[in-house]
């Protein structure tokens, strides 16, 4: 056996190197975890078809002529596709298997253990949007804002996907419990349904209308829909990113607080 030749001098690799190491590993593992990703891809496609099939005539019949329900629904499916996509499940496995401790035994920057996963999530989320968009094109949805608008549309969707990841990561780091992480998607239900998912805001009445006003998803959908249906509306686009930003501020605060708790050596 010969395990030592020239003397090695280990050193702190630095934030960016640590970040790329953690993110690359997460991306590699995501590509090996397709059984967890493919169902998440199929569900929004299914709902896009079903919602259009069941509601298009009803909604368009009750609105002024020219209302495009397909274009109206596409952002909803995109949001369903990207919400809850995260490596939080594999983070729990790392915690349970002791691999997270192995990482903590190295000089790795602690914050990169979370940011690196989120970078991988960003890539996965953007990939998840593509099949929904393709289905949208197939059924005739077009972008009033062209290719640039489509890219902004993807960015808004991705920003929401990443903003939401903070919740499952917070749960994963606080509990180390896979079942609890799986249930993180339930947090999305109020965001998903107390909003303009199926009809325009003007059609909402009573408490649902009030709730939708306070729901960031309403502004997110509005910003994405303008890119498809109306054209460039900088206010709507800004509000969409702002909605993601507000949710990110809350969820990231929870997630990084949970990370601090997990690595505190308490």
């Amino acid at each position: 056996m010969n395990t030592r030749t020239d003397r090695i001098v280990p050193r702190h690799a630095g934030f960016w190197s640590d970040l790329s190491s953690v993110a690359l590993r997460a991306l590699r593992l995501a590509s090996r975890d397709l059984e967890a990703i493919i169902p998440g891809m199929a569900v929004p496609l299914f709902f896009l078809i079903v919602n259009i099939g069941s509601l298009q005539s009803f909604v368009e019949g009750n609105l002024p002529p020219g209302f495009d329900f397909k274009g109206f629904q596409l952002p909803v499916s995109v949001i369903f596709a990207v919400t809850g996509i995260s490596r939080a499940g594999s983070l729990v496995v790392d915690i349970q298997d002791g691999y997270f401790d192995r990482l903590l035994l190295t000089p790795v920057s602690r914050t990169t253990l979370l940011i690196g996963l989120m970078i991988a999530d960003l890539a996965v989320v953007m990939v998840m949007i593509v099949p929904v968009l393709i289905l949208g094109f197939i059924i005739g949805v077009g972008f009033e804002t062209g290719i640039l608008g489509m890219l902004v549309f993807i960015l808004i969707g991705a920003s929401w996907g990443i903003a939401f990841t903070g919740f499952p990561y917070a749960i994963a780091l606080r509990t180390g419990n896979p079942a609890a992480v799986n249930n993180a998607f339930l947090l999305f239900f109020p965001f998903a349904f107390l909003t303009t998912a199926y009809v325009p805001k003007e059609q909402l009445t009573g408490w649902l209308s009030v709730a939708a006003n306070f729901n960031p998803t309403t502004y997110l959908l509005e910003g994405m829909r303008t890119l498809i249906l109306q054209g460039w509306n900088s206010t709507a686009i800004f509000q969409a990113f702002l909605a993601s930003g507000i949710v990110a501020a809350v969820s990231f605060t929870l997630a990084f607080s949970a990370l601090r708790g997990r690595v505190r050596r308490k």
Binding site: M1, R4, P10, R11, H12, S21, R25, D101, R102, L104
Partner: protein, 324 residues
């Protein structure tokens, strides 16, 4: 950084979990280049001590330095200089062995060419052949242990912590790990802090042994020193159940016996002159109508030391200390 010739130096190290004191103020000094065996039953505080010394847990009280750096205020510097193989192999089953070792090297800032070289070098140590490019999920338990050890060695640590490295391994794998530990220490000069619940393992490998029980170090020294501390010889007398206390009382009148301990149906008699003491022991027991089914003379073991210092016997198979 503190100036110290010791690889590990702990003073009054305490760790509490709520009201429970898992480690109750231990002092340890491990010299550079030695193998220190940390021996104790499950629940004695071994793993908690390792987790403190390796910076995974903060001490509740006390101080310690590892490789010259304080484990609390200079934890990042400690991490650069230690390698750790925890009790359960801490691996990622979805990566390949090569990917895991390469990532480990990246986190220690090793350039790509060094990482490639180190993986090749470590392959000779872990001896998992072509499986290095297979996913770790497909590895056997022994292969996972060896890969875990390799991961701890990627950056050539000054101090290596091995937390019960052979627990659960078959005798052949255990012997292979012992050989690797000796090689790492003798040939590569790595200081090794080895926790174990196996007396034989500590006896075989360690230059010095610390025995921990209920969070405290109860004995420390070379295996020979510890064994000699309870006498040159040990006489084991197996008596009928219930006769132990009476037999011990009867033997207490004999000269030349250093101690008489009762452990279940056995009397453990420490003496400096076993050959000359065994006959009086047999006669005394017979005169007191105590039936002896076995009478054995042997040299002391670390188990005898454990019994002598704690009043309990180590029983690794049961993973518990047995109170007598």
């Amino acid at each position: 950084m503190t100036t110290s010739a010791s690889a590990i130096e702990a003073r009054g190290l305490v760790r509490r979990f709520g009201d429970k004191e898992a480690v109750a103020g231990i002092d340890i000094t491990v010299d550079t280049g030695e193998i220190f065996g940390f021996l104790g039953p499950n629940g004695a505080g071994k793993s908690t001590t390792v987790r403190m010394l390796t910076t995974l847990l903060a001490p509740s009280d006390g101080t310690a330095t590892v490789a010259g750096f304080d484990i609390d205020s200079e934890a990042a510097e400690v991490r650069l200089r230690i390698g750790v193989a925890l009790q359960d192999a801490a691996l990622d089953p979805k990566q390949t062995g090569r990917e895991l070792l390469d990532m480990q090297g990246r986190l220690y800032g090793l350039p790509k060419e060094v990482r490639l070289r180190r993986v090749d070098e470590l392959l000779q140590l872990v001896n998992i052949g072509g499986s290095i490019d297979d996913r770790i999920a497909t590895y056997s338990g022994g292969m996972k242990r060896r890969l875990d050890l390799a991961a701890a060695l990627v950056h050539q640590p000054e101090v290596l912590f091995l937390d019960e490295p052979t627990t659960g391994l078959d005798p052949t794998s255990r012997a292979a790990v012992w050989e690797e530990v000796r090689y790492l220490n003798k040939q590569l000069g790595i200081t090794i802090f080895l926790t174990t619940q196996y007396l034989e393992e500590a006896d075989e490998l360690a230059d010095r042994v610390g025995i921990i029980a209920r969070g405290r170090i109860v004995a420390e020294g070379t295996p020979d020193e510890l064994k000699r501390s309870i006498g040159a010889d040990v006489i084991i007398a197996k008596v009928g159940s219930g006769d132990g206390a009476r037999a011990a009382h009867a033997l207490s009148a004999l000269p030349d016996l250093d101690s008489v301990e009762v452990s279940g149906d056995q009397l453990i008699i420490a003496t400096a002159h076993g050959a000359s003491a065994i006959s009086p022991v047999a006669v005394t027991l017979a005169n007191n109508s105590i039936k002896v089914s076995e009478l054995t003379l042997r040299t002391p073991t670390l188990d005898d030391v454990f019994l002598h210092t704690t009043g309990t016997r180590m029983d690794a198979d049961e993973s518990e200390a047995v109170t007598v």
